[in-house]
Structure formats: structure tokens, C-alpha cells
Symmetry: C2
Subunit: 432 residues, 2 copies
């Protein structure tokens, strides 16, 4: 069997599953309608199921679209209350926008409030534009195109960059659909990506010049329903780069591993005389989209200030705790450091001498016309240095409050074995 057919068979819902989905959606729509007959509002199916681009066991998104004459507070409270009544095990989620998540007939549903707007760029809440996306895709995507979307989605999942959420910083479902609408097939998208350079701009019509200056992102795909929006704005530079590389590699050698990577973690970790430090912080009660940007800020703030230890790379993962792993040439430094002072002829040189003459390890001495002294190194371990970095800098609004709970370990056995192996081995998912 052809590789692509094999992938499709594993990911595409069967007719039987689609019937069950259809029935579940109809039930939910009916239940909503029963509760809103005296309101200016209507339920609407959106997302991948509405567009027919869903994989097996999809999340199903139902919006309730309200007239703009209702207060925001009302439509939110009403929707959340109704959702809790209709769905099993309902959970209310307040990230950017509130919604209810829950089960119905074994499927995962989100019920979300939004406003009915006439123009897609006049949105009031973050999700008012979504029905326009659904409409655009339905009008431009053929049945074969839908399967191509499914294959591209699975490829992106396989290489670890599917999803626009903060945790992933990858390709959204809508972006995947637009790429297929633009280039026709999964393979054409990859062939295009092979030629993408430092950045790539994609549009359906002429939107003028200077789009890079306007959006400042590696991939800019102008939303056909709102020219002020870059559909790919969540995509990080590294994930953009990974997609280019994966496209080239896949077109060179088509392997199932690109879609379904298999990672075997060996007993023994790589050995190379380097040092590993493990940072551990309790995970605060926050949704991922709020938490991950802060972890990223935390990790980069720390990593960028460790130069003297010659750090190599870092990685983070989250369970009940936030874990950051740093690999470095060194974790310990000498008790002294070379401290450069002003030129000898500078008016500040007298102060430098006064300050250090009786409290330095060596000097002050002269080199290349400057004063220097060997002074005490306050932060002679990476742990001490990180505590100082974290004290002087914000590591995110919520993490700042629990800074004082930061713990360190030099024992690699405190680290999740798979995370450590992937971090140390640094292969691409399809290479394992």
C-alpha cells in the first residue's frame, strides 16, 4: 500500500464514526436550540468537524452566536451555565476566552459563546471571526483537499509542530487548511516549503508591500477573511525552520516515521563530560496558554545570563512541576574573576584603585593600558548565579510569586528519562 494511503487509513474517521459524530452534533444543537428559543442567538458548528478536515476522535466545537445587543457578561454566563447542563463532566476554561469543555456520547465537545458580526474584521471577542474561517474553508476546499489537510496535519503532529497554542507554537488547523487551499496537495506544500528562506509571505491576493515589516514573523499568511491578521503568527522561528527541514528530508526519503515517530529510550544516557543542572519549580494552577509563555521567559532569562559557565542548551517540560534542564560545559567556576577597570589615565581609575586595593585577590594591575583586579566571584556555582538572575529579573507574573520555591538538582536521576534522552540526543522525531 502507498505510504499516504496507509497514513490516511490510520487517521481518517470511518463513515461509521462520522455518522456517530453527526448524530452527537445534532443532539447538542437541538439541546441548545431548546434553551435559546426566546433569545437572538443560534448554535453553529465550527472547527475541523464543520470543515470536514477532522482526524479520528476529534474535538468538536459548537459556538453559540449572540446578537451584539447582549452584554458580554450575559452571553458568557448563559453559555457556561447551558454547557454545564448539556455536557458530561463539564470543565470551565478561562484562557483568553471562556468556554465549557465536556463529553457527549464519548466525544469531546467545546461550547463557546461569540457574537454575530457582519464583517469578519469587526470582531468583538477573540473568536467572532471563527465562523468566517469555517465558511471560507468550506467554500474553497474539495473533498480530496480535505484528505490532503488530514495528511498535512498528521505530518505536522508527527514532527511535533501541530497546534498554535503557546505550548507548541506550531501550525493551527486553519493554517493547514489554507496551505492546502493555496497549493493543492500535501506534497505541493512540502515542495513549496523547500524554497522558503529566512521568511515567507503567502497571500491569496495583493495586500501591498512591507508585509514583513507589518507582521514581523517567519511565516506570514494573510487571513483571507481579515487582512490585518497573520494566520501563522503563533509559529516560532524554530518550528518554521523544522518544517522546512522536515519537508526536504521527507521528499528525499518518504518514511512512515515522519507521521508516526517511534522513540525508544535506551537504558544508558549519552556520555560526553558535560554537566547537567535540573531546575524544579512547582507548577502553578494556570491554563497552558498562560503558563507556557512564562516558562519560556523563565528559561530564556536564565539561559541568556549564564555565559560564564558556557551553557550549551536548555529544555523544559511540565508535569506537576516545571522542569528546566540545562547542559553546560561547567557548573562550577573559580573563586576569583578577572575584573576590568578603567584605562589608567581615566579619572575613574583612582576610585577603582581605592575600591579594590585592599579587597582583591590580586592586583590591581595594568594590562593593555587598563587596570584589572582579580576579585571575589560571588556566583561561583550555576545554582548561585541562577538564584541571582531570578532575583534581579522577572520570570513571568505568576512564576515571580513562587520564585522562592525554586530547587536544583545535579543528579540526572531526578529528570524524566525520556525528556533527558531527547534533550541530550537532539535528533528529529523521524530519525529515532
Amino acid at each position: 500500500m502507498d505510504l499516504i494511503d496507509e497514513v490516511l487509513e490510520r487517521i481518517k474517521p470511518t463513515d461509521e464514526e462520522n455518522l456517530r459524530i453527526k448524530k452527537a452534533v445534532e443532539d447538542i444543537i437541538t439541546k441548545i436550540n431548546e434553551n435559546i428559543h426566546n433569545l437572538m442567538a443560534e448554535p453553529i458548528l465550527v472547527g475541523s468537524v464543520a470543515k470536514g478536515t477532522h482526524l479520528k476522535n476529534p474535538d468538536i466545537d459548537i459556538f453559540i452566536r449572540f446578537s451584539t445587543s447582549y452584554e458580554r457578561n450575559f452571553i458568557e454566563t448563559f453559555t457556561l451555565e447551558l454547557g454545564k447542563k448539556i455536557l458530561e463532566n463539564p470543565v470551565i476554561n478561562y484562557a483568553e476566552h471562556p468556554y465549557v469543555n465536556g463529553k457527549y456520547n464519548g466525544f469531546d465537545f467545546d461550547i463557546v459563546p461569540c457574537y454575530y458580526i457582519e464583517d469578519s474584521f469587526k470582531k468583538i471577542t477573540a473568536v467572532d471571526r471563527t465562523p468566517f474561517h469555517t465558511k471560507f474553508v468550506l467554500e474553497h476546499l474539495s473533498d480530496d483537499g480535505k484528505d490532503q489537510v488530514r495528511i498535512l496535519k498528521q505530518f505536522l503532529k508527527g514532527i511535533g509542530i501541530y497546534g498554535a497554542e503557546a505550548k507548541v507554537q506550531g501550525f493551527s488547523g486553519y493554517l493547514t487548511e489554507l496551505l492546502i487551499i493555496k497549493y493543492g496537495t500535501f506534497e505541493n506544500v512540502l515542495k513549496e516549503a523547500e524554497s522558503w528562506r529566512k521568511f515567507k509571505i503567502i497571500t491569496f491576493k495583493d495586500h501591498g508591500k512591507n508585509l514583513y515589516e507589518k507582521f514581523k514573523a517567519p511565516l506570514i499568511f494573510i487571513d483571507p477573511v481579515d487582512e490585518n491578521r497573520n494566520v501563522a503568527s503563533a509559529l516560532s522561528l524554530d518550528n518554521y525552520s523544522k518544517f522546512i527541514h522536515a519537508s526536504k528530508e521527507f521528499l528525499k526519503e518518504r518514511k512512515i516515521n515522519f507521521f508516526f515517530p517511534e522513540i525508544h529510550v535506551p537504558e544508558k544516557m549519552p556520555e560526553r563530560n558535560t554537566k547537567i543542572l535540573h531546575l524544579i519549580l512547582p507548577r502553578p494552577e494556570l491554563v497552558d496558554d498562560v503558563l507556557y509563555p512564562q516558562i519560556r521567559k523563565f528559561a530564556t532569562t536564565v539561559f541568556r545570563n549564564l555565559d560564564e559557565f558556557q551553557p550549551m542548551d536548555y529544555h523544559f517540560y511540565v508535569d506537576n512541576f516545571i522542569h528546566i534542564i540545562i547542559e553546560s560545559y561547567f557548573l562550577d567556576l573559580p573563586d576569583v574573576m578577572v575584573h576590568e577597570g578603567p584605562p589608567v589615565w581615566d579619572k575613574n581609575s583612582e576610585n577603582f584603585i581605592k575600591k579594590w586595593i585592599n579587597k582583591c585577590y590580586s592586583g590591581p594591575y595594568i594590562k593593555d593600558g587598563h587596570f584589572y583586579a582579580y576579585v571575589e566571584r560571588k556566583y561561583n556555582t550555576m545554582e548561585k548565579k541562577i538564584l541571582n538572575i531570578v532575583e534581579k529579573n522577572s520570570i513571568g507574573k505568576d512564576l515571580d510569586r513562587i520564585k522562592n520555591k525554586l530547587k536544583f538538582s545535579r543528579d540526572i536521576n531526578t529528570i524524566d528519562k525520556k525528556e533527558l534522552y531527547l534533550f541530550m540526543r537532539k535528533k528529529f522525531p523521524w530519525e529515532y
Copy 2:
């Protein structure tokens, strides 16, 4: 007793010594005259004794000035042969210019050939200008000025920067004399030096602009007998800086230590968790003025290429061997290093992947849009790295020939204790 008087008493020759010097000089002049009566040549006393600025037990310089009608080869051979006849334990020296060194009546004599030239800037050999220097100083320096020169010379000796030879890179006797002629007294010279900045230009008359661009040196003192010469050209930036600093410190606190430092080396070396590497090379048979520039080249070439070990400072000294000491944060590095590759979208990225995919420790992976890999670090000790630096670079014409004899030691007991202590403690001579 006044500090300056105390210094003078210790350094100024007594009348009795000056009489003995005078007698010895007259003897040598007579002996030379007996041998050159049929030549167009004359002996002439030059140097500090001729100028009356000599310290106790001086080197005495006698030039034989020949007519320019003689071949260079002849005047050199003639002078060297004659010198060997006149002086006890004669040694012939060929640095820039050949001469005989030897003893007479307990004094150290140099006998040197030169040409009689009419204009000081029309020199043929390196030393033809010297008699003009002698004449200029005799015409411009008072008796008190001569003592001021002696004090300044001893101050420069005490702080370790007296002598224009390659080993020292400091102030020549002539430069010292010109400074006193210019500023009158030892103390005035120091007061002037307090205000010297990144560079200082001193002249007796207007020599136009752009002198810094012409001479490119921290101290530029235009030779009054040759405006194309900077008398201070041998002075290094660090010795220039040291002089400024010592001047300030002496004027703040007048101590005998500036003239006669006393260095006590303690049993125990400073401790600060750093690493010391000792490089040892046999000393080739070369005069100091040829050897020291090569050692400096050797040491700086090595030191400037050690960044990854975070070296702090280096020092060298010479006995039967050339010794270089390096203090560094590290002497050992991990077996791997982070190797940066091209951007992912670059046409060279394919070669990078091909080259490293099967021979790197980790990766290739993507970070900030670039490929990286952890590759084997070939030079994971400072010794290996230095052998590689020395192999790839010239460390001086003569040292290059004995490169292969370079030895290393991490045992600080192989290092001269005083040299090591001074290197580690890094105080100025007057501070011990």
C-alpha cells in the same frame, strides 16, 4: 635626611669613583689613538658617562668614528679586532649593530664602530646619531639637572621600566635626560605624567600636526637631533601606563620603595581555585634583543587563541629555558563542543547535515533558525590546544625551529617561586 638626598647618596658615583672612571676612559682613548693614527677616525666617549648622568658602576661607551669613505665591513672588523686586543674578557655582540664588550680596570666597556656624519638625520648605521645625542644633552643639561636625571633613572629602575631594550620596553637613558631637560626636575616630570592621557606628544619645537598618526606610540618625544625619530618608540603601552600610575602614587606617598623595592616571597602561594599551566622551551642561543620579541610573539599568539579555556593572564621569564606561565579558569574542557552551522534555509545546510549526521554526538538540531551539532572537541586540554596553535602559527623565526621541544607541566613546583608569586600576586613593585 630628605628622601631624594638618600636616593642620590645611594646611586651617585663618588668623586673618587669618577676619577677612576676618568682615568680608565683616558687609557682606552689613548690605546685606540695609538692604533688608528694612520686612519681617518677618532675615538669618542658617548653615553651616560660622557653626559655625566651615570649611576654607580656604569657601562662606559666608547665609539670609534670613521670617515664614510671606509667600507662598513672594514670599520666593523677593525673595531672588533682592536676591542678584543684592548679589553679583558672581550665578548663580541651582534645584535642590530656589532660591538665589543669587555672589562678594563674593573669597569664595563663597550667599544662600538660608527661613521662620522654631518647631519644627525643622515645616519648610515644605527648608532651614528649617538654622538649628536651626547652633544645635545651636554649643551642643555645643568649639573643639578644631571642629578635629577639620576633620580628619575633610579625611579624607573625601581618600578621596573628602565631600559629601551626588547626585554624591558621601557625608558632609555636619553629619553630620561630629555624629560629632565624639558621639565627641569624629577618631580616636575612626575607631575606632568599625572596628566598624560591615552597618548602624550612632547617636542622642543613645532613639528606640525598628525604626529600621533606618524609615530603611533603612547609616548611620542620627537628627537631634537632628528625629527623623524620618536625617542620613546620602544616604550610599551603597559610601561607608559605604569609610569603614569607610579607618578600619581609616588606624589601621593613618597616612599623609598619606589626606588628600591623589596619583595619578600612567602612560603605559601595565593589560593583561588584557578588552574596554572607551565610551558617550557629550551632557550636558543640568541641575544636578548632578538630573543625577547620572539618570546612575546610566542606568548601572545598562544594566549590569544585560548578563549574557550577562559585564560586570565600570562607571564614569561627566561633562564636556561623560556618559561611561560598561564593562569586560567580551566585547563580541561568537555569531549564535545557546540558547533554552529548555517541557517536552515541556506544552500549549505545540506552539506552540514551530510557532514555531521553520522559523526556528531548530538543533533544536528535547530536553534534560532540555525543548524547546530555537538561535535567532538579535538583539543579538550589546554596542552593539546597549545600544540595545535603552535603548529598552525609562527611563534618567531628561531623559536619555530624548536617548537617540537615544547614541554608542559601542571605542577607549580616546576616554576620559579618568585616569578610565580609575582605573577599570582600582581602588585606593583613599590607595594610589596
